[in-house]
Amino acid sequence: MLLFAALVTGARVVSTKGPHFYPDDPITREPESRDASKAQPYFMGSMYEMSNNLFVTSKYQPAGVRAKNINTIDEVPDSNWFTNRIGSTRVTVEELVRGPNFGAPPDPSRWVVFREKTSGSHPGFTARDGKGQTWFLEFDPPYFPEGATGAVVVATKIFWALGYNQVESFLTTFDPMKIEFDPNATIRRPSGARTKFTQDDINSILERVARRPDGTYRVIAGRLIPGKILGGYLYEGTRPDDPNDVVPHEHRRELRALRVFGAWTNLTDLKASNTLDALVTENGRSIVKHYLQDVGSTFGMCNDLYEWDLSYEHFIQGDTTWRRLFSLGFALSPWQTVKYTEYPSIGKFEGDVFDPRKWRPQTPTTAWREMRDDDAFWAARRVAAFTDEMIRAAVHTGEYSDAAAEKYLADVLIKRRDKVASTYLTAVNPIVDARLDANGRLTFENAAFAARVASGPATYRASWFRFDNTTGETQPLSETQSTTTTIEAPRGLPTAAGSFVGADISVESEGHQSWRKPVRVYFRRDGGGWKLVGLERMPESAPATPI
């Protein structure tokens, strides 16, 4: 329930006076109180990370504990990892279309090449534009014209709206006739030496990418992230050199939630090298800012035109490996029969067979395995908050030349959004936005009904209790119920400032057994009214979402 539950639990070991709720609960911002200037760069090798994820993480038994970076009302406070946007605050279509792009787009009148590209699977290099700004340029492979670049720009807008720190990314043009080389431009050779970057190096890249009929190239330009680059973040443990990083990453809800967001957008390449930590200075103090840097492996984009099994299986998965080996491949896997409408700019991406619970990234992460249904519910609310109009507007920023491809991508995202919402908003008791007014009237929303992924009559029951914030003891009051999302509280609620009451709200609705498990809410008397200070959707210990 509480932010940093382990911390509070630890406090109780030596003190019985620790409060259940602090006066500043629920916090809306995760503090970064310490100077992190000692943080050092480290780049984990892809081979080690992949092997570790495939052979160790895949056997990892989830702790089954509530996310540890959420506040007392089951929400993720803002931090250097995450900013509440869609689903928490109003995000307009205009804001979504702008996404993380607050600066000016690149000036493609001139490109001064000075280094190779060090991340991402598609060809590219690092260059300064006509205004001297540094950009990472990435091209489309010939078999996915507009695909890789389109995926980056569209997914960047979506993941920005979802709350992740994103790189400013713009679609622009690369004209090989307007290229220059920085006098100090170098590239790393197989010998390990850095030698002069030559025209032949550019040619070797351009030979492998999609070219427009006029001889120019469509590229995605990612702005250089400000600050000192520290390498990617891991999906488990904490940075040992960042004092503010005290929550194990596998217990950060926004990282667990990538299992839902990844399924929706088909972000299959979840690995450390697609993330980036940067040491930046804010308010005179060095802190580490965490970016979900490369979201280009979304929709149907992958390294190869023939990666049919992507999103259905990890690269190596025990059950499917044995099944195929012993059946000699006669036991067909779902990816062998799913029908795709393939546009070169979209790839293999569909919404009819898609099942969010069966979606798989290339390799599992510890955070991916730790996700519980309350994490998924939190994530699904954000996915469901994307309207059709917003999705179509985000896809339009991909500037696909084929209108049918653009429409198809948006249609599939809408289908998958609805499946995500239908799967996860109904998996747990969907009570949200509980409010207790001064007159003792409890109102709330049913998120599943609101998202229209469930319907029918429902009876809401609230079992009320007084709550002692010092001892944690509860004192039952009475039970009230309603067939609407408004329930009267019992008479005689305390009126003293600082007093607490709570209610266990359960829902009787045909076909939704899990809704009978109550959501527990806590209110504190503040001034003349009640303030929601606590919400527990699932117990502190509960199984992770099955894989």
Binding site: Y22, M47, D242, V246, Y306, I316
Partner: protein
């Protein structure tokens, strides 16, 4: 890795809980949530240290550096001097002499005493990345290579052993005029074959044959071997692919400076991969024929005769089991994708050798069948394990390259 994970997790939990406990014991109870979190951050601040990769991570990072970034140095080397040497161990040291060009010095030794020592210079980016050059110089010795006689009607009991020593030097240039698809390859090799009495438990070749009954016995021949290949190659990679094909013809000329053992040969090779069910299955076919042409008054020494029987031709037969002037081999595999890095395969090989080119037909073929597992990456097959069965027995094959 698991230990590392547990250590990291326990460290974090201990840090967080311990921080709160000690804070509660020694510091005032934090008045706010923010203060409580800041206390934990303060505790962590006392014990900061850079990320320290574990041993396994360090090793794998090193391996990645070698495989991906192409900075090999010391490396294993499993190529034996010749067939039939048994388990091979070897090592090499590679050194970039320029940005892309590599010098690799390597050697191997087999359980039966075969020896190979060579140096190779490779220049992989010539002619604006359209060409690659390999120059090799070395020496090898095989002490007890098998010979079973000529033709298909020989017996395992006919085995004799021979030894040879060979210094060699060659240069090979691959050229892709259109970067993909069309392959042109030219090669020149200067070598000397010094055929000696064989060792081991089988009779030496010179005890059973004479130079009159088996050309090449006891000879010391210096060759200039030149060859040229024209091929169409649209596989993803020769090292691993699930689609595409290779169609090629190679012309060989062996010139003996003494004009005793000169000859010419033509190789015809067709490889085609047919993906099925979205590449979960692949039917892979290979047909290979080699025909020989004698130069006037010259002969082919027995140790350079075409053969069938080996881990790359007919896998159920001993290496070089059948020899004669021409050969034909056909192979079919049903490959099953098990996961991204592993395939299984059922295979069938058939083939024969003949004295006359016109006998290269489908009569009198020997055949075998088997099952194998292959561990591969996107472009290479570093390990192939197979069991092959033929009328002459069951063989286990371990190879560090694909079959085709």
């Amino acid at each position: 890795m698991r230990v590392l994970r547990l250590w990291k997790l326990s460290t974090v939990v201990a840090l967080t809980v311990g921080a709160a406990a000690s804070a509660s014991a020694q510091e005032p109870e934090p008045p706010t949530r923010q203060a409580a979190i800041e206390q934990a951050q303060g505790e962590k601040d006392k014990d900061l240290h850079p990320y320290v990769p574990g041993k396994m991570e360090g090793l794998m990072n090193r391996a990645e550096d070698i495989l991906v970034n192409g900075v090999p140095r010391w490396h294993p080397y499993f190529t034996s001097a010749y067939y039939g040497g048994g388990f091979t161990l070897g090592a090499g040291y590679a050194h970039h002499v320029s940005a892309y060009n590599l010098l690799d010095v390597r050697g191997s030794y087999t359980i039966l005493g075969y020896k190979r020592l060579e140096a190779e210079f490779t220049a992989p980016r010539l002619f604006h990345r359209r060409g690659a050059l390999s120059v090799v110089g070395g020496w090898r010795e095989a002490t007890q290579a098998a010979f079973y006689g000529l033709g298909m009607n020989t017996s395992l009991r006919d085995r004799v052993n021979f030894d040879f020593q060979q210094p060699y030097g060659s240069g090979t240039l691959d050229f892709w005029p259109t970067r993909r698809l069309l392959l042109l390859r030219g090669s020149v090799e200067l070598s000397q074959w010094d055929q000696r009495p064989g060792e081991g438990r089988y009779p030496s070749v010179d005890k059973v044959y004479t130079p009159a009954t088996l050309p090449g016995v006891g000879t010391k021949t210096t060759y200039v071997h030149s060859q040229g290949t024209v091929g169409l190659d649209w596989r993803e990679s020769p090292g691993y692919t699930r689609r595409g094909g290779f169609y090629g013809v190679t012309f060989h000329d062996y010139t003996d400076k003494d004009e005793k053992f000169g000859f010419r040969q033509l190789d015809y090779e067709l490889i085609q991969h047919f993906p099925i069910l979205r590449e979960a299955w692949v039917i892979s076919l290979r047909a290979y024929a080699q025909t020989s042409y004698l130069k006037p008054d010259q002969q082919i020494p027995f140790f350079l005769l075409p053969y069938v029987g080996s881990g790359s031709t007919m896998r159920g037969y001993l290496s070089h089991r059948f020899r004669d002037q021409n050969r034909i081999v056909a192979q079919a595999e049903w490959r099953i994708m098990v996961n991204r890095f592993m395939d299984a395969a059922f295979f069938y090989d058939t083939g024969k050798v003949t004295a006359r080119r016109q006998d290269l037909d489908f009569n009198g073929l020997k055949s075998d069948y088997g099952f194998g597992i292959r561990f591969h990456g996107p472009f290479a097959t570093p390990l192939r394990l197979e069991v092959a069965r033929s009328p002459e027995g069951t063989r286990l094959i371990a190879a560090v390259q694909p079959i085709f």
